[in-house]
Symmetry: D3
């Protein structure tokens, strides 16, 4: 099985970390291809960043379909471009926020999300609503930690994340922690040991879910909203995103 | 990995079919132990049946914990006893309705459930609400098919399920079908081929999800609502369900 | 009118207290039969306890129907087995959580529930949702009081309940208190006097509601989800729960 | 016990019918005082009618409090002025839509409301939402029957209501019928016999609920939103509605 | 364009202030007619007050329709009589709570309402739900300020409103403030400057929205629930509210 | 006042029509600048199209801020990029779906949306939820009409839209129609005349709402989620979207 794990920002170090987290949980025989787009922002911390990360992400999905991938993970907690990616791909696509929230709802009564910047909390709540997971979401908490600070050796990022998780358990009445950033994937095990409750990393969770969908022979439904996009001209800088008019995906 | 797949009714033929469906999707190296309780109703088609299926189910969970199972599937679409089972087990427990609905929400815009008797539709809607999946559930449809008729060779059950799936696609605007009974597990592939949309069988989906949770090292949170039950005397016919007062699960 | 008040746990002292609370508010001419099952847990403080209290409860309902009861109260705040009991009975069945919440919504803008153990709060919220009462429920608060401590003379249970009620009024913005345990029935009057707001005990409320339904000539609808369960064999320890195949309830 | 049943329109014939329905279910010893205001519309079929029925209704509540009533029923399915009445009264106040919906939710899985004019359906849905009963309400159906036609001997009103109830059962999947107008109170028994499912009349239901609240010693909470209104001058035509500045209700 | 701004209480000083706020934002060429009814309470701080403010308000709407108004604003944050007014008028009618909440949802992620008395908070939440704005409403906060104290020169009302706004920003996570009383209209600009976030006054917002509806050629739909009320007799003190039986509005 | 109306697709003919619709309702003195991006798809009929329309749209917003625009309209019924645009702009930004739904909720009890392709219905429902307008939305209906067919002289597009509006009124119980595509702006008046109910075009509605926000002196809140995006490098094809690191918008 070949899975493409797409870090939608353009920071290669983070892509490497995400790839390692994916490989650590992938089934034997699964080939993890971790990539990031050639275009777009170095980190995703706003709706603006997210919007501009999506074209590069879609390019990776389209290339993946041509290369016969068996599934995709969108490895940013805002799950940017998820529905557009599902239109483009027949193979299943899972976002890491989606994966983490679904998994958390299977092992506890409620979870708190611990994320980076306060300004991204709205998007996490929005996704919880879209996925039906709002009823399990006790709180979304920010550490006021820029995404890329998680990549800086020697920063106090780990400690701040741990402290916020402790506050979540003490104040929110939750019994599971969801990590709210792909850049926290490497903290999952130590947080879980320190906290004594399950801690869910979306990258690992999404890898497992996509593998499961593929193993079940399930693809994205091509009936209705998620059918292949209608081929049509694109202009200007984005001309290259024009889909072939005899769209092989529609077959 | 050892997974216990519990058919909560006492019909051994159905247990065998469920076991086969589980084994067909299990990972190499996963040992599927398909069982049904020694006590309880031969099929589950009412709240009464469901209530009386739960003690036997819990007995199987308790025995499974003593035997070191890595996870459990509750293989009845009403997901009977799910929260009580989660209290009892540290290993993850997933219900087939829960699994099928979650999986369906990852591959389409909305699903319709096709189930057996009209009187069970309320429970399916209730579960959709509890799991946050109501927003993805276009409809719950019944074939007015008693559960055990699915076990009768030569019955027209297959055709009636197929017809109801066709009505779902034509009238509900859904793009995925969820099979609403463990006894339909063997119909999944042919229905999917006939309908041209993804069809989700909860048994297979639940096996994949439990394997995923176990592979992620995630167990049921023992903090709060799902902590091990407080040991206390049980009386009369159910005396045997008294938990040991030094409960090893609480550790 | 003959009403059966079923304490679903097997602690006779609590049954006696519940019976007294029921008789204190029953109409002249109403015969209160307070019972507890012969089988099951001594108190109900988990999903496990609740699941194992239900068979004994259903046995009492079935016996009640044979004896011509005019209605039933399920006297545990988790309302265990309510829908199964409604299937089994033609006479109306009311749970005490259900009764208390409905009554509270008629006399105030919002209520807080004060219950026993923190781990049971999830079930109270779940019931509030099922009954449509979530919008009136300001909070569910636990005193961390084991159910049977309410039965111990000289314990500080009364004071702890009173203190938690005071916190509810101060912090939740509620204007009514709902007592979250059948074992608190005898505290209702004194709490109301101490707090100066209406305090609702579910046992008394449920007796009034069942009497009202009976007086209105209303029975449980036997059309659809709550029709009599389909008769079928039960096996093993629960064989005795097999319903007669010519089910007189279905008539 | 003295209960005031207030028909908020000014049609005395309808008041008499409502009074009879109330007396038919009241407990022995309950004194039913059925009244209608001296001012306001002859029937209530719009928001305009409802708004202008409220002052007269509130006058009856205020007079009732001075006369020491033990409870009130607002006998119009729009439940006009319910919260204002609760502010004014210490004794409990119940609306007939509220009562009917609550009662219906205790005896079935879902109800359909059968009401008079199509234009009043929005208000019925609105009340279902306010009372938390929307989840039990399968449909609100209109017979396109003006309220006062129910008072005309020899009209085909009875038949039209029966026909609409039959359609509700056939099309809505409900198992209980709620009558959506106080003027239908006298049809309840015959409809129930013809339909074979429980039919709930709000007038009878509300009498039972108010009697229950009074028997439980429960009054409207005077803490917060429903406290007695602050006394202040009213001007012009409504000057007479000025409350005494030393408001005895506030005590 | 002629707009009638109706202060539904009978305090002329407040009407003048509201009129000034309306004129300050009205388009050139818009004629603002600010009025208050001749009958009703001097301020609106309870459901009782609100109910008794509505007849006078409706009288002003009816007179407005005869005078050919192009639109109406109901200038009290409880939006009393809104649906009845819409039945009566063909020209658009907007309430100030409705206007403020809609506008706030267009410029921020969430708003807090700062209002007068604690007892009116329930009505503000109720309106937020009715208008679909509950998801944007972070909190409703009261200053415990009687409405007419806002009219008293030299009171500390301004400071108390400002303090509560500051608490809202610090504690609620909102990014917009909605003023919860027509009597606060004159504070909007200075609060916005002091707080550094948008502050929305409903009077100004409603004037803009009604002007917009009129400019778009949109009137209240006369199909269904908001069609002109059916003409019928009114009795007693309210006889004058009888609509002409040949209702010109229905045409 | 200078308003920029952005058609997010690259079809200039449609931009001209949208500009004309905007000018037809703009206030005297408002300067309407109708534009479309230089890059992106020729029409927006999928999540893919929408994602690829957003960069060009954001470029227009950024240019607009530099040019001192007083407000923006996003003239596509999917409201693409709305939150990213709000981050980028201090001046108010309104989407046409948002505007049309809000306006419709002020003049009727419920609306139906009549849109182009069936596959876009999910997005319309999603927006209705996000804006709180789901409770007013009776239905979203598609004519199976490609967006650009609305631009073809002599097509039967007008008739198909009219027919679908008629079905909406007959079957959905709505009292207002919302046009679900910017390309239908020119049909609004004739549809309204043919149907006899208010018909809302989002382009006109959005122009009015943005003018209103600007007239009220309200800008997008720059506190929290909608604050200016954090400046950071963008790579590759989208390098030009890098914001200046001394972001003047953040001040």
């Amino acid at each position: 099985m070949k899975l493409k794990i797409i870090n939608p920002n353009t920071t290669a170090g983070m892509t490497a970390k995400i790839g390692a987290a994916a490989r650590a949980v992938a089934r034997p025989g699964t080939d993890i291809i971790a990539v990031n787009p050639a275009m777009g922002p170095v980190s995703i911390e706003s709706h603006y960043d997210e919007a501009l990360a999506v074209p590069g992400l879609l390019q990776e999905i389209a290339a993946g379909e041509r290369a016969g991938m068996d599934g995709y993970v969108i490895a940013c907690f805002g799950d940017p471009g998820l529905l557009a990616a599902r239109e483009l791909a027949r193979a299943p696509v899972v976002g890491i926020a989606e994966a983490a929230m679904h998994v958390a709802s299977l092992i506890g009564a409620s979870f708190s999300v611990v994320t980076t910047l306060d300004r991204t909390r709205g998007q996490a709540w929005h996704l919880a609503e879209r996925y039906g997971m709002k009823r399990f979401c006790a709180n979304v908490r920010a550490c006021e930690l820029p995404v890329l600070e998680l990549e800086v050796p020697g920063s106090n990022a780990r400690q701040r994340v741990l402290d916020e998780c402790r506050r979540a358990l003490a104040e929110d009445g939750c019994d599971v922690i969801v990590l709210g950033c792909a850049g926290m994937a490497d903290l999952c095990r130590e947080l879980s040991q320190a906290l004594g409750v399950p801690v869910v990393d979306g990258v690992a969770a999404a890898v497992q879910l996509v593998e499961s969908l593929a193993a079940l022979g399930l693809h994205t439904s091509k009936r209705g909203e998620l059918a292949a996009p209608i081929a049509k001209p694109l202009r200007g800088l984005l001309e290259g995103f024009t889909l072939p008019s005899q769209d092989p995906l529609a077959a």
